[in-house]
Assembly symmetry: C2
Homo-oligomer: 441 residues x 2
């Protein structure tokens, strides 16, 4: 009765298989050392914490907010406000941790950052000529969501120091000349997934200027901003945003834990309707959210509420141990790469990688193709997993690159994993590349 | 910078304000007696239960499934399988409570039934000529989600005994003759929201025959099926479905609690791709889900997992007290209506209502318009809330009807609320309707 051509066209796009691949590959190869998923480490988790946080949030509601038992029960069990019940705590957190000052009403609590992304795209993109700008390579959650909504995506290349703003400017003008409207740019300014790159501080100011001049919004996604490895943290685009040009997307998957499925969007833009009335964009988002998920799990909100209450309103301090852990892991990965891919060896000479300032990811370049066949070999024969960068490009790109995520492992497993990867790549490079001709001379 | 015409056109549709209205009206008038929201009663909730359920689920994982502490922590805290980790428990529950036999792999755990609806629509609707059939009046979560995805909706009238199957058949043929494809029919066969109506058992067989002959799928949404007031429960369409024509949507908002945001879709259809390979439709759904919410809150899944483990795998028995409570409330509502709208009074003579077999809702018909102005009067001056039926119709319809939801109240509050409603409607009918001419004779 059902044939694939009857289903939405996005389901035939290989892009949509990738999210599942990333989510489920760890399940397929449970014993491999996995540099594949962008998962936080589980050493910081303990099931006892859940009751502690739930209790703390209930105590806060009772003691600070004057809720009685019936109101607490209602908040935890019943349908709730579409945009969530922890907006005030989140506004306080954003000011404390990020220097972002916004009203609680501007915050939409979502089922993870992914729902925030989806809502943002559905709200902003209306006409077939509307185009979403994304840095290339790009997180699949964004390009995939755009595909689901039949939104055209225009890639803009990243350089070693983050998004290429000259290319962005040229791209915007090119799109305009084609009668298209670049409505928004999606980017991760800090320790991007997948590239690990960050936008330098001066470029952030230039990007805000460019967005103002060219009239597009910026969708800033910041899941990794806490996890700086070297140097001071840079201000987010939203912290620099004095003209409400930035929609800021946040996640608790790394700063708290992924099982919550909790994120948020800050949408403090004013929307003017046909009658000249002003509305907050966050209010428009709530209309969409009510038709996707009604509201966000009250339990998940209560757990994060409890964490915030127990940590003086912020999560940056509470994450200091995690920040050190991820720094140690990235250092260990970089050192292991130096050791196991020595430049003195001919096979390793054309294997290179970037050196991120923080975050969970780095990218290796190989002299051979980093495709699914190579990954299957890695998994089956060498018990090590990684992610082909090809998945993160639209059109062509990334064919010779792979992403390593070092967040989920320990330094010992990283050392062993990089050693396995080196053994595999040495074999694969020697098999697949013809030995270089010795030049006469 | 932002004007409303730049946003997705659905945001300008009054339909999208209604979901928020239904979700938030109880917050706006906290002291009114509210027959408005389709909320379950909170008397069955106690915050202590959350820890009990979470503990029971962890014990089940440890003792029945052989999970060690690390694996339990990972399940609760980490990213998880897109389609959820309680599929086996849900398959057992469906067999026990509903006589529905499906494989766990056919079940997609979702963020409430609303996400299941959205995913189903995104998957099935591909071309501009694809049309969704819905019974009229219809739950706004469905027509709103279709609007968000620019899917054309074709209404089919309900009769006193549920969906009009003759009209459905005529509608399908009419659409086909216009070059359109009716891809699926959405319906609530048991105690529908908003009408309270149910499809008689013989009509269920006829509907399945019709769907097979006319090649459309049935999306059966069953949030209220437990809550029978009179007579035996009817078999769901899915329980009768021997040709995989029915996608079944379930919710834990009424059988457990709404704050979980937990629902599911059963999508056991086989999809044949261009290469002749077969896939489960549930697998296609997972691709979409991964781009909406990644996966469903592990905590919410664990709470329902614990409830199922503590209740021998089903929830019907555990809901017997709730079932009696909602029956008592519906009885109380019907009796109060008889008492406060006596046919002996001229003003009440043209006020009528239906007598549902179960569920949360009934519909009143008035001789005056049941519009927002009347509702505001009710709320402000008589401290009683209800829902205009107009909201549940596309095009015209329902102008003189209102929905009463009797789930959220007690029999005492129902009595008082119906008394207030009668006082208001008496006043409004006498003011708005000219006194009937006394006929000569």
């Amino acid at each position: 009765m059902l044939t694939a051509d009857l289903l939405h066209a996005s389901l035939g796009d290989p892009l949509l298989d990738v999210m599942n691949f990333l989510n489920e590959i760890a399940i397929r190869y449970p014993d491999a050392i996995s540099f594949a998923p962008g998962r936080p480490n589980e050493k910081f988790y303990d099931p006892q914490q859940i009751a502690t946080y739930l209790d703390a949030y209930q105590r806060y509601l009772r003691e600070q907010r004057g809720f009685d038992d019936a109101r607490i029960t209602s908040l935890l069990f019943q349908y709730g406000r579409t945009n969530g019940h922890i907006g005030e705590l989140l506004a306080r957190m954003l000011e404390k941790d990020e220097g972002i000052r916004v009203a609680p009403e501007s915050i939409v609590v979502t089922v993870g950052c992914q729902e925030a992304t989806f809502i943002t795209l559905r709200a902003l993109f209306s006409k077939p000529t509307d185009v979403l700008l994304v840095g290339m390579p790009c997180y699949i959650g964004v390009t995939g969501a755009a595909r689901l909504l039949d939104i055209e995506v225009a890639p803009v290349p990243e350089r070693a120091d983050g998004l290429d703003l000259d290319a962005l400017e040229a791209r915007v003008r090119e799109l305009r000349s084609q009668g298209k409207q670049p409505r928004a740019l999606y980017l991760v300014a800090d320790f991007a997934n997948p590239s690990g790159r960050s936008l330098p501080a001066p470029a952030r100011h230039r990007l805000l200027e460019l967005a103002a001049r060219e009239q597009f919004l910026i969708i800033e996604d910041n899941p990794y901003g806490f996890f700086s490895r070297e140097g001071p943290r840079k201000p987010t685009l939203k912290a620099l945003d004095d003209r409400q040009q930035v929609i800021y997307l946040g996640s608790f998957s790394k700063s708290a834990f992924p099982g919550l499925r909790l994120g948020y969007a800050v949408a403090d833009q004013r929307v003017t309707d046909a009658a000249g009335q002003h509305h907050l964009l966050a209010g428009e988002f709530s209309k969409i959210k009510s038709l996707l998920t009604v509201n966000t799990s009250a339990l998940s909100q209560a757990v994060v509420g409890g964490m915030l209450v127990l940590n003086e309103g912020g999560l940056l301090e509470a994450n200091q141990e995690a920040i050190r852990f991820y720094k140690t892991n990235m250092d260990a990965t970089l050192q292991a790469l130096e050791r196991h891919f020595p430049k003195s060896e001919a096979w390793a000479r054309d294997v290179t990688w970037n050196v991120p300032d923080g975050g969970f990811f780095l990218v290796m370049k190989l002299p051979i193709e980093a495709d699914e066949a190579l990954l299957e070999e890695s998994a089956r024969n060498f018990h090590v997993l990684w992610t082909p960068m090809r998945y993160f490009y639209l059109g062509t790109g990334g064919e010779h690159e792979l992403r390593l995520s070092c967040s989920y492992l320990t330094p010992e497993r990283i050392e062993e994993g990089v050693a396995r990867l080196a053994r595999h790549l040495q074999k694969a490079i020697l098999e697949r590349q013809p030995a270089p001709q010795v030049r006469a001379g």
